[in-house]
């Protein structure tokens, strides 16, 4: 297929064909990581800016390594070492960066919808590396690739996602991606961490861990999003451990 999108902001607006295309492409690139010289010229002469408004280790490193192995030049920008402290607005900052003609801006931001805002306002490609509680498409695509590798296909698979669903962008992106690809999804967590209308996603909702994992082909455990929970949602880590961990 021909890739026509400027941005990747979430799995919600990717088609099944586009998701499969990304997974197929990733499969092909995977072999590069096994070579002695781990570099291809695909993105030579292009600049990728990693704009991270939240702490990140794995995602930022992954994006940077990926860009470098594709021969792009990378610039990393974190909120603590930027003009954010001077009170500059996000749009001012990104428009300044855009003026320096990068090819892609990878953004992580604590507020949901920020990558969509940038994608509409910038000519440069925008990739969402996690926005608030909303989506984390690169993580979900990685999870989908792992599942496909292990299980072959998504149809007739039952995937249990367990833990803090409400505050998890990884859960949201996975729920959207998995249901699109034909898997059955069960979600499980205490009612303080599962959105009340969760069934609207077309998933099975349970608060019973035993039930959630029975017959599941894949079990996905989410960590507690302590940094995103803004109120008392569970009695303590131990209580949560007893009810909702495997």
């Amino acid at each position: 297929m021909k890739w026509t999108r400027k941005d990747v902001v979430g799995l919600a607006d990717l088609s099944v064909e586009e998701i499969r295309h990304i997974l197929d492409t990733a499969d092909r690139f995977r072999e590069i990581n096994e070579r002695e010289i781990k570099k291809v010229p695909t993105l030579r002469g292009k600049t990728v800016v990693n704009l991270f408004y939240e702490p990140s280790t794995r995602t930022r490193t992954s994006f940077e390594i990926a860009a470098k192995r594709l021969s792009a030049d990378t610039v990393n920008f974190t909120a603590s070492s930027s003009s954010v402290g001077k009170g500059e607005t996000l749009l001012d900052t990104v428009k300044n960066i855009e003026a320096m003609r990068p090819a892609i801006i990878v953004i992580r931001h604590p507020n949901a919808g920020t990558p969509m805002l940038l994608s509409k306002r910038l000519h440069v490609g925008v990739i969402n590396a996690g926005d608030g509680w909303h989506e984390h498409p690169s993580q979900a695509l990685l999870d989908l690739q792992m599942i496909r590798e292990a299980k072959g296909a998504f149809e007739n698979l039952t995937v249990a996602i367990i833990g803090d669903i409400t505050h998890s962008r990884v859960a949201r992106s996975n729920i959207i991606g998995l249901t699109k690809l034909g898997a059955k999804v069960r979600i499980c967590g205490p009612a303080t961490m599962v959105p009340a209308p969760a069934a609207e996603w077309g998933v099975e909702v349970t608060h019973d861990l035993e039930h959630a994992i029975r017959g599941a082909d894949v079990i996905m455990m989410l960590r507690l999003q302590l940094e995103r929970q803004r109120q008392t949602l569970f009695p303590g880590v131990n209580g949560n451990t007893r009810g909702f961990t495997v």
């Binding site: 507020n111 926005d131 608030g132 609207e200």
Partner: protein, 407 residues
């Protein structure tokens, strides 16, 4: 000099008129309402209103004029221009200015500025508590004398039940209502839109309906115990409508207002993180919207009020969760309310009552009727006119409207 407004369909709920009438005005007063066919001197200044609605100048008990302190969002002059453009003859401005309207000096400043603007009449609401901090009651007696017509900490909720109760008792002594922004700030938390399917899908922290219901329930209980007049501002939930309906049936002195955005839009209209669909309380579910419309129709809610809340582009053109709450409303309220008449959800008579006599009576303002002797503030409205509302129409200094073309 007498002026004749001839042949219009005059709706004056206070006078019980909903029929074709001529209106004669002179020197800022209504002189008379005449049945069609009456004879007039040939040299009289005449306005042909055939096919048009002739209404008492509208009254809005909930606007933010932003002056003093936020003149980059709106001034009293521009706000009054917007009011008049929207058909409003009188507006009540909220106290969350800078400085807050908790002193006589600020009240006088507002009234003085409004007089100089000489457009819509402005009736300030004073703060319930100093600095809207929810701790120390304002000098309601002095403020009332200076011109405040009610008291509210709008924008904030008086969270402490003791202060809320004392405020009601104190206001009752002066015969003025407490207007409550009834939202439990703890339950609302960092919520940026209605908590429901849409917030779940967008990953935006939600404001549960319970945040409003809980506080309306508390305030209704306090009003029942104190006997004070409690006015609930911008009612947005099904639960709040039900609580007010129930309280009224028990004789509690509670009134409520519905905002055009709450009876027109739902949380689905947040769409792709549209900051012009962000306000407090938020756009709620379709069920809540229905409840607000039913409340307006059956008398549970007493008035339509805009909660006109101008904001400059800078605080709207940003991340959704960080965007300021509120939208402008004065210039779209009548058209949106008329839409409820077209949809046969409200009668024409009721809709006009909700925007004229009812709000005037709520705060004992000398407006809202065209009975002879009343101020000749007249709104003439073409119910068949089709137009597209866009930023070029806006008289308000700010353009933040979800109803604006191109938004």
């Amino acid at each position: 000099m007498k002026t004749l407004i001839k042949g219009g369909h005059l709706v004056d709920p206070k006078a019980g008129i909903d029929d074709v009438r001529d209106l004669v005005i002179e020197n800022g007063k209504v002189l008379g309402i005449e049945k069609p066919g009456a004879e007039y001197p040939a040299d009289m200044n005449s306005i042909d209103a055939a096919g048009l609605l002739v209404l008492p100048g509208l009254v809005d008990v909930h606007v933010h004029l932003r002056e003093p302190g936020f003149e980059h969002k709106e001034t009293i002059a521009t706000g009054c221009e917007a009011a008049v453009a929207g058909g409003f003859a009188a507006v009540c401005c909220m106290a969350n200015t800078n400085p807050v309207n908790d002193t006589v000096a600020v009240t006088r400043f507002i009234i003085d500025k409004a007089k100089r603007a000489n457009l819509a009449k402005v009736y300030p609401m004073g703060a319930v508590t100093l600095g809207l901090a929810g701790e120390i009651l304002s000098e309601m007696g002095e403020l009332k004398q200076a011109g405040c017509v009610a008291f509210t900490d709008d924008g904030r909720c008086v969270m402490d039940a003791t202060i809320a109760r004392n405020a009601m008792l104190y206001a009752k002594s002066f015969g003025v209502p407490i207007a409550a922004h009834a939202v439990c700030e703890k339950l609302a938390g960092d919520g940026a839109m209605h908590e429901g399917v849409q917030s779940m899908k967008l990953g935006v922290p939600g404001v549960p309906s319970a945040a409003e219901d809980v506080m309306v329930a508390r305030d209704v209980v306090l009003a029942e115990h104190t006997g004070a007049h409690l006015h609930i501002q911008h009612v947005s939930t099904k639960g709040a409508v039900r609580l007010i309906r129930d309280a009224k049936s028990r004789g509690v002195r509670v009134t409520g207002e519905g905002a055009p955005h709450h009876f027109t839009l739902t949380d689905a209209d947040v769409g792709d993180y549209d900051t012009n669909a962000k306000m407090a309380p938020p756009l709620r579910s379709a069920e809540d919207r229905e409840a607000v419309i039913e409340g307006l129709a059956d008398g549970t809610l007493d008035v339509i009020a805009t909660d006109h809340a101008p904001h400059e582009a800078l605080v709207k053109d940003c991340e959704f969760e960080r965007a300021a709450n509120g939208i402008i409303g004065l210039e779209t309220a009548l058209s949106l309310s008329w839409a409820l008449v077209r949809q046969e959800r409200l009668t024409r008579f009721r809709m006009v009552e909700l925007m004229t006599w009812a709000p005037a009576a709520l705060l004992s303002l000398p407006h809202g009727t065209l009975a002879p002797g009343s101020p000749s503030d007249v709104t003439i409205f073409d119910p068949e006119a089709r137009w597209v509302f866009g930023p070029e129409h806006v008289k308000s200094l700010s353009k933040n409207s979800p109803f604006s073309d191109g938004n």
